[in-house]
Each structure stands twice: as C-alpha cells, then as structure tokens.
Amino acid sequence: MEHGAKSRYEIPVLIAVVTLTLVIYVARHAEWFGYLQLSAGLSLILMLLVAGSLIWILIRTLDGNPAGRRMVFLYVAVAVVLPLSMQLTQKIEVTPEVNQLYRGLQALPHGAKVLATFDYDPGSAAELQPMAETFFKYAFDRGFKVIIMGLWPQGPAQANMALTKVLSEERYKVKSLRYGVDYVNLGFQSGNEFVIQRMGGEFKSMFPTDYNGTPYDSLPIIRNVKNFSNIDYSFNLSAGYPGTKEWVLVGVDQFGFKMGAGNTAVQTTGMYPYLRSGQLIGILGGMSGAAEFEEITKYRGKGTKFMLSQSFSHVVVVVFIIIGNVAYIMFERGRATEKKKKA
C-alpha cells in the first residue's frame, strides 16, 4: 500500500527532473541564458526581496513557527542560482596564501618547466577547474613549459578539458602553442604515492608514453627531463587522496622541489600546517581561492563569477544560523530547563 503511494509521486517527479534537465541543456547550448542577465539595479532589488523574506522567516520563528530543512534548501538554491544571472561583481580581497602562491609563480623565469598534477575528478571540478584554467592561462602567457599528469584516473581528462577551453581563446590561438613542445599530458598512473617516489628516480619509469601513447623520449618538452631535479615548479590540484598531502610528504620532503597547490575548500584547512612549515608555497582554497587567483592574475573567469553565489549563500547560511539560535533560545532551551526541573 505504502509502496504504491510512493511510486505515484515518483514518476511525475522523475519526468519533471528529466524535462528540466533537458530544458537547461538546450538553453545552455542555444545561449538562451544570455537574455536572462539581470541588470545591477534589478539584481539589488531581488537581493533585497530575498533579505526581506528572510526577515519574515525570522518573525515567523519568533511567533513559534521555525523554518524546516526544506526551507533552508530552497534558500540555498536561490542564493546559488540567482547570482549566476546577475551583472554584479564583487570586490575580491586576495588572502596571504594566494598572494604567496602568485609570488612563487612570478619568481619563475620564462620557459620554466612546470609539473601540473591533476588529482581530482568531475565531482570537485566546480572548485578546481577554474583554478586549472587560470593556471594554464598564466603559464602560457609566461611561456612556461607545462607537464601534466594525474594520480587520479580522471585527472588528465580534466586537464584536457581545461586545456581545450584555454587554447580555443583567440589570445592563445595566435601563440600557436604546440603539443609536445609547449605542453604535454603524461596521463594517469596508478600506485598513488609510490608513483611520486618512483618519479624521483625517473619520470619515464612511470610514464613510458604520454596520454596519447607517444613515447616519452620523442616529446621535445620532456626529452631532457629526467626527474624532479629538472622541474622548476610543481602545481597540484587535489580533491583528496592521493593529493597535495602525498605530494608534500613524498615529493617535496624527499626531492625538495617547490610546490604550490589548489584544494577543495573542505580539504584546505588540513593543508595549513604544510603552508606554515614552508613545505607548500601558497595554496588556493576552494571557490574563493579560485576567484582570488583570477583576481591577482587578472584573468577573471568562472571563479569570480561563482564567488557572488558563494558569498550570497554564505550570508543566507549565517542568517539561518541566527534564526536557528533564536528558535533555540526562545523555545527549546526553555523546554530543556523545564525537563531538568521536572527530573
């Protein structure tokens, strides 16, 4: 009986989700979203409306009707989606750790060999892909030779996606960058931190061919790269294990190359000890790290755009924390002390 009732809802919901996905997909490819850009004034009015409705929820809470989980979800969705079609920009303050990473990159000479390691998958691409794109833009403008690899199977594919995007821009098309000369993708190798260990001896032992199957020695960019001692800098993008921590503990500690990293916001807190100890030269943390990196390198892109969403949703969460505490102090705490008294 219960099962029957459940499936009555399931099919319409499923159809609705599939239809919505298709509409968004078509809209994206037909550039319909271009018409949806809201002007700055309209955006501000919309934000004020959202703020007003939040105050209304606070008042309802004071009246004894606290908001449920679903209300929180709704507001987060609004806070994330709405700013994407707003023509507002947010002032981005560059934090010391991003600044440090940038200075590390600036210190590299023209033509420096940079190892870019991609240890993430599509799941965390929202945060890390903007960093990858900015990094490639900066590297190609500075004439760095970029050697790409991944300890996650999907990493090199993510790198290729970022590369394709960057290289299709007019600015880089005219540079006529050549695969194998200006950049190379060595692909994925299994074995986690042991890959790093073995690369300390010889890169070729772990990557006899590149991602496309071309032999290591026939690629001019890496023909003379034996191991980490021929690398000027390493940039790691990571979303977990194996990732920045392994690169620091096995790579930087044992082979002493310079390394900067970009991490998902969740993971960044865990990297601060290595930053302080000097094992990492700078870190980009999550979406804000990506936006700051774009700010400091002046390649404004996805990170900066998404930052507004993030800030807006942070404020929404802060407001809901306040509402939650108001509800708690007004009602639940009283109940808790009553219970204690009874006991």
């Binding site: 000479p109 799941g123 300390g200 001896g201 034996k226 001692s229 969740v266």
Partner: protein, 401 residues
Amino acid sequence: MLFRVAIAFACLFIIAGVAGQPAGDTALAVQQTIAPVTSLIATNHEYDNGTGIDLIWVPSIDDRLAPSRVTGYEVWRSVVGGSGSRIAELPAGANKFTDEQCSRESTYVYSVVAISVAGNAVSISTAPIQPAREWINLHRLNLLAIAFLVSAAVIYFIQSARSGKKLFVRKIAGLDAVDDAIGRATEMGRPILFIPGIQDMDDVQTIAAITILGRVSRVVADYDTKIKMPVSRSLVMTAARETIKASYMAAGRPDAYNDDMVSYVTDEQFGYVAAVDGIMVREKPATCFYLGAFFAESLILAETGNSVGAIQIAGTAMPAQIPFFVAACDFALIGEELFAASAYLSNEPKQLGSLKGQDVGKAVALVVIVVGTMAATIGSAWDVTFMNQLWSALKVVFQTN
C-alpha cells in the same frame, strides 16, 4: 647587409654545433665568451642503494651578473671506458645536481657546461667516481629512535596489563553508545547500516573499521538485528564478510549469516554515495555507523542519515572531515579514537595496555612542543645562544629526512 646576415648565420651554426657536442674538443675550439663553472666536485650520494652521485660546483662568474649572461647549465656524464651523454638541463643559478641513475658497477666522470647565447663553456671534468651502497640510513636514526621509544612504551604497557595491573582508560561516549544504538535498531525492527569508509584494505583506517565491525557484528548476531553493509571496494567486501561470518559463528548462529549482508556497489566516490543515500532513504536504518576514511561524502551521508532519523556514530582520522561528523552525527570518534575503538570495545587488558603506551608518545610530544616553543621564543626575542642551540637541536632530532 648581406655580410651581416652571413655572420649571423655563421654564429648560429657554431652555437648549434656546440650545443650538440660540448664535451668534446670542438667546444674548446670555440671562443669562450663566458667563464665555465669552477670547483666541480662529485661525491657519493649518502645512504642510498649505490645509485646516486652528488655534484656541487661554483656557478660561472658570468652567472652573478644582473642580468645573468648564463642561460642555463647542462650536466654531462661519461662512463669510464664508454661514451658520454647529457643527463640534465638546469636553469641559471643552479649549483648542485644529484645523478640518481648510476650503477654500482660503473665508474663515472662528470662535467658541467655553462650555456649562453654567445657560446658555451665546459668545466674541468671530475675525478672518476664509483657510487657506493650503504646498509643503514643514518639520516633516519632519529626516526628509528622515536619509533623504538613509542613501540617500547606500547609493548611495556601491554605486558604490564597482561600481568594484571589495572589501567585507566578515559571514557569514549561514542563507543559506550554502541550497544544502545544496536538495541534501538532491534526494538524498531529496522536494519543497521555500517559504512567502512571509501578506501581499500591497505588503509589503516579501513582496517580499524573492520576491527570495530567485528565487535559490532557480534552484538548484532546476539540480538538478531539486520545489518547492511554496502562497500566501495571488493577486498573490503571479502574481509567484512569473513568478519561478520566469524561473529555469527562465535554467537552460535552460523545459519543466520548471509553473504548479502555485505554488498559491493562501486569504487566511484559519488556513485557510491548516491547508492548509499538511496539505501538510507528506502530502508530507513535505525542506526548508522560511519567508520573509516571519508572525504567529501561524509556530510552527504550524515545529513541523509539524520533526515531518516537514524542514530549516527561516526569516526574518521581525516582531519578535514571530523568537523562534519561532529556537526551532523550523534557521536563522533575523533582521530585516534577510531584506532582505539576496537581495543576499547574488547575491554581486554592487553589491548587497553596498547592505548596506554600511546600516552607516552603524547607526553614526549607535549614536552618537546612546550620546550621548543619556549626556546624559539626566548632565543629570538632576547638572542639567547643556548636557547637558539636548543631549538636547532630539537629541529634536527625531529626532522624526518
């Protein structure tokens, strides 16, 4: 005009020729426009398997100009009685290199070539050298000593617990709640969900999770509760099955065991999360255990568990995920408590003794942190030589490479 072009071509030709074979006599024949590197010394790379040779040199004088006239260095190696080859290209300013591709049977001679636009300069070759193998890595002696100290403390307390000495172990609320949480599921007639993280059996956190599973499944077998364990690694699946089966046998109910209690889903992180969330929403477990190595999925799982009204006990040694479990679960084992859990639940003296041994390590860490912080602060603030020395000494002892 034509004359200039001809000269430019000639220069290019010479440079190209020199870059191709610098160690030979032709290099010397070229007019040396920059100074070569000096004091090139080759020494055996210490504490390896006889595969490394360290090179150190004083960079070319022309490299000290600003801007440097040297564009980079090349390291050339030749085997005595054999041919030479270029083994590395280094940027300007480099003054050392470690060749890690040597063989113990061969003797090598090295030279370094300073490269510039105007021409290259070859250094004097090193004396022939043969790499040597060492049997003990003395650089890691400090690590060995620390490992010995901590291990000895653990073994000492295990032994003293075996001889019947009473040991105090602080209460861990999350573990005291295990029996009640399983009892709740039994009363409600709903299953227990056990998630052992998303790493394989080579992760010590997964092993810790499986040891706790042993204790949990014993209670589950006694109470006759349903347990469900979707896993993301095949080896974890086989290990968990063995563990649960043994618990059912120990409880005297081997017939109640079923292989389907543990099922493999996928290795893919978010695919696994989607499947587990689906199981939670459909089967509404009364109790959820999340023990092991977790990443971004920690909060997705814990919040879904919370929404279906499950009692949740979580534990992980991933520092970044601990806050999520603390916020979203009823009980959270923080870091080391995950590893202590099985010993704590077993209540066996010798297991508890091992926990006591850890405290010695913590005491050492505590003393060193306090002394080190004080020494560094006093030393730098008032320039006290003894304090600075103490600080440097501590750094040497606790450095890992």
